[in-house]
C-alpha cells in the first residue's frame, strides 16, 4: 500500500515523466507521452505505482531498487503489479465501486494464466498484452484496446500471428473468420456493441476455449430459445455423448454466417447432410420441416407482394398488412423451433402463420379487384365524357348551321 501511496501523486510533479520526455529517445519518451491520456493518470497515479522507485528524486536516484524500482515488469510481475490494486475490493471501491476485482483469480484459470504459472511460458498474454500499457482507457472508450469493436484485433495481434503462434500448434485464422461472421457485421456495420466478440464466448480474463458440453450454454446467453430447444432435443443428448459441440457443428464457431432456410433439409447447402441422408428418418424429418417452413415463407411473401402492390396503387390495406405481421412472427418462431428437431413443433408454429397469410392474401386480391373495378369505372366515365364532348360539338355546329 505504501507503493500505491507513493504512486498516487495527485497534482505533484512526477520526475519520471519530466526526465523521460527530455531524453529524446522514442523508446523512452513514448511511454511518458502516451501515459498523459491513461486512465491511471486521471485518477492520480504516476509511474512509480507500477514501476516502483521514487518520483520525487531526479536522475538515476529515482530508479532506486531499494525503493521498489522494478523497471519493465516481467509477465509474472505484471499480474502482481496490476493485481495489487485491482484485486483489492477495498482499494478499488474508492475509484469505481462497481468494477470487478476478480480479474487475477479469473486469469489464473485461463489458458494464458495456467501456461504462465505451470510452464513459465513468457509468451502468453498478461494484463498488459490486452490493456496497452501507458494507454489504458476504460473499456467503454472507443479508443480503448478492449472496446468491443477492438477486442478482435487485440486478441488477433497474437492469435492471428502465425509465426508467433507456431509453437502452440493451434489455428491462426480465427480473427479472419470472425471478421466474416454475422456477429462482427452486426457490431461494425449495425453498430450493435452487444454483438459478441472474442471475450463474450471465451471469457476475457479467464479466456479459454468453450468445452464441447458447454458451447450451447455460451451461445444460449444470447440465443436462449434455440439453446433450450436444442439441449432438450435428442440431438442435444447425442451430441454430448459423441463429443460434438452443439451449436458450432451446424453454425461453425468463428465464421458464423447469417442463417438461411437452405441450411435445413437434405439439399445442397443443408447442414443436416453432414450426418443424415435423404433416406433416413432424420433426413426425411429435416426435409419435411424445411418444406413446412418454405410453405409458410412462400405464402407470407405471396400475401406481402399482393398487399404491397395494392398499397403502391394507393389502396387502403393497412389492416391486412398489420395482420400479416403475425405471419412474420410465426415464420420466425417456426425457424427457431427447428432446434427441437420435431416436425410437430414446427407445424404448430407454421399453421397459424399460414392461416394469417392466406387471409391477408385473399384481402389483397379483393383489394386489387376493387382497384380494377375503379379503373374500369374511370374508363367508362372517360368514354361518357368523350361522347358528351362529341355530342356538344355536333349540337353547336347544328345551331350555327341553323343561323
Amino acid at each position: 500500500m505504501l507503493l500505491f501511496a507513493a504512486g498516487n501523486l495527485g497534482a505533484q510533479e512526477d520526475t519520471c515523466t519530466t526526465c523521460h520526455l527530455s531524453l529524446g529517445i522514442e523508446k523512452l519518451t513514448k511511454p511518458a507521452e502516451n501515459y498523459k491520456a491513461d486512465i491511471h493518470v486521471a485518477k492520480g497515479f504516476g509511474c512509480v505505482a507500477c514501476h516502483g522507485g521514487d518520483a520525487t528524486k531526479m536522475g538515476m536516484e529515482a530508479m532506486d531498487k531499494a525503493k521498489g524500482y522494478i523497471g519493465k515488469p516481467r509477465p509474472a510481475q505484471i499480474i502482481q503489479v496490476c493485481g495489487r490494486c485491482h484485486a483489492d475490493p477495498r482499494f478499488m471501491r474508492q475509484y469505481n465501486p462497481s468494477l470487478r476485482v476478480d480479474q487475477v483469480a479469473e486469469y489464473a484459470t485461463s489458458v494464458h494464466g495456467r501456461r504462465l504459472r505451470e510452464q513459465n511460458d513468457q509468451k502468453v498474454a498478461t494484463c498488459a498484452s490486452c490493456h496497452k500499457p501507458h494507454s489504458i482507457r476504460p473499456a467503454n472508450d472507443a479508443r480503448s484496446s478492449v472496446h468491443p469493436t477492438r477486442v478482435a484485433d487485440t486478441c488477433g495481434s497474437c492469435h492471428a500471428n502465425a509465426e508467433y503462434m507456431a509453437s502452440y500448434k493451434i489455428p491462426t485464422d480465427q480473427m479472419a473468420k470472425y471478421k466474416k461472421s454475422v456477429h462482427r457485421k452486426m457490431m461494425i456495420e449495425k453498430g450493435d456493441l452487444s454483438a459478441p466478440t472474442c471475450n463474450d464466448c471465451h471469457g476475457n480474463h479467464g479466456a479459454a476455449p468453450p468445452g464441447v458440453s458447454w458451447v450451447g450454454n455460451v451461445c444460449g446467453q444470447c440465443h436462449p430459445v434455440n439453446s433450450e430447444l436444442f439441449s432438450k432435443s435428442r440431438h442435444g443428448q447425442v451430441f454430448v455423448q459423441m463429443g460434438i459441440p452443439g451449436c458450432a457443428s451446424c453454425h461453425s464457431n468463428h465464421e458464423i454466417l447469417p442463417t438461411s432456410d437452405a441450411m435445413l433439409g437434405v439439399g445442397a447447402n443443408a447442414v443436416c447432410t453432414g450426418c443424415h441422408t435423404d433416406q433416413d428418418k432424420g433426413g426425411t424429418t429435416a426435409a419435411a420441416m424445411r418444406q413446412s417452413i418454405e410453405q409458410l415463407r412462400t405464402e407470407y411473401e405471396k400475401a406481402h407482394a399482393v398487399l404491397a402492390k395494392a398499397e403502391d396503387a394507393g389502396m387502403e390495406v393497412s389492416q391486412p398488412l398489420f395482420d400479416l405481421n403475425g405471419a412474420k412472427t410465426a415464420l420466425v418462431k417456426a425457424r427457431a423451433s427447428i432446434h427441437g428437431f420435431k416436425l410437430d413443433g414446427v407445424n404448430a408454429e407454421v399453421k397459424p402463420g399460414l392461416e394469417i397469410s392466406q387471409k391477408a392474401y385473399a384481402r389483397g386480391i379483393k383489394t386489387l379487384d376493387e382497384l380494377q373495378f375503379r379503373r374500369k369505372g374511370l374508363a367508362v366515365s372517360a368514354l361518357i365524357i368523350v361522347a358528351l364532348i362529341v355530342g356538344l360539338v355536333l349540337k353547336i355546329r347544328r345551331l350555327e348551321g341553323k343561323k
Binding site: 452487444s194 393497412s318 398489420f322 412472427t329 355530342g391 349540337k395
Partner: protein
C-alpha cells in the same frame, strides 16, 4: 319541292330530338359518373384511422389496468400500449428489433418480451436481455378528452 322540304324538316326534327335525347342522357350519365366516385372517395372507408404519425386509440385511459399491455395498430405496423406497475401509460413500436416479431407485455416480469428468441425490453423500451440489438421506438402518449392519442416523436 314543298314535299321534299317537309321531309327534310321532319328528318332534321328527328335528328335534333335524338341529339337532344343523346345529350341529355349523356349529361345525366356524366353527372352520375362524377358524383358516384366522388361519394365513394369522400365517405371514409369502414376502417380505423390510419396514419403514419398519429393514431387515436379506441381504448379509454380509464379502461387500461396498471401492469398491463395491449397491442394496437399504428398504420400497418403493430404498436404496444403499456401501463407500468405505477399506472403510467407508455407506447412503443411492437416490432422486435431482432427479427421483427411482435412483442408482448409480461406482467410477471414487468417487461416487454419477445417470444421468438426471448428478447427482453425494459419499460423505457431499452433492450436488456436476449438478442435484440437496439431499443424499441418509443411513441408519445397524449390525452384528448377521454381519448388516447399516440404519436411518433420528433
Amino acid at each position: 319541292m314543298m314535299g321534299q322540304d317537309e321531309a327534310s324538316s321532319v328528318q332534321n326534327a328527328t335528328r335534333r330530338n335524338f341529339l337532344n335525347w343523346f345529350l341529355g342522357t349523356t349529361a345525366g350519365a356524366f353527372i352520375v359518373s362524377v358524383l358516384y366516385p366522388l361519394s365513394r372517395y369522400l365517405i371514409p372507408p369502414k376502417v380505423e384511422e390510419s396514419t403514419s404519425r398519429t393514431v387515436t386509440l379506441s381504448i379509454k385511459p380509464q379502461e387500461v389496468k396498471a401492469n398491463s399491455g395491449q397491442i394496437f395498430r399504428f398504420g400497418s405496423q403493430p404498436a404496444i400500449l403499456v401501463s407500468t406497475p405505477a399506472g403510467e401509460l407508455k407506447a412503443f413500436s411492437a416490432v422486435c428489433t431482432h427479427l421483427a416479431c411482435i412483442v408482448q407485455y409480461r406482467a410477471d416480469l414487468g417487461q416487454i418480451w419477445c417470444a421468438c428468441h426471448n428478447g427482453h425490453f425494459d419499460l423505457n423500451g431499452k433492450n436488456v436481455e436476449g438478442p435484440p440489438p437496439k431499443p424499441l421506438e418509443e411513441y408519445a402518449v397524449n390525452f384528448r378528452g377521454d381519448q388516447l392519442v399516440v404519436s411518433k416523436k420528433g
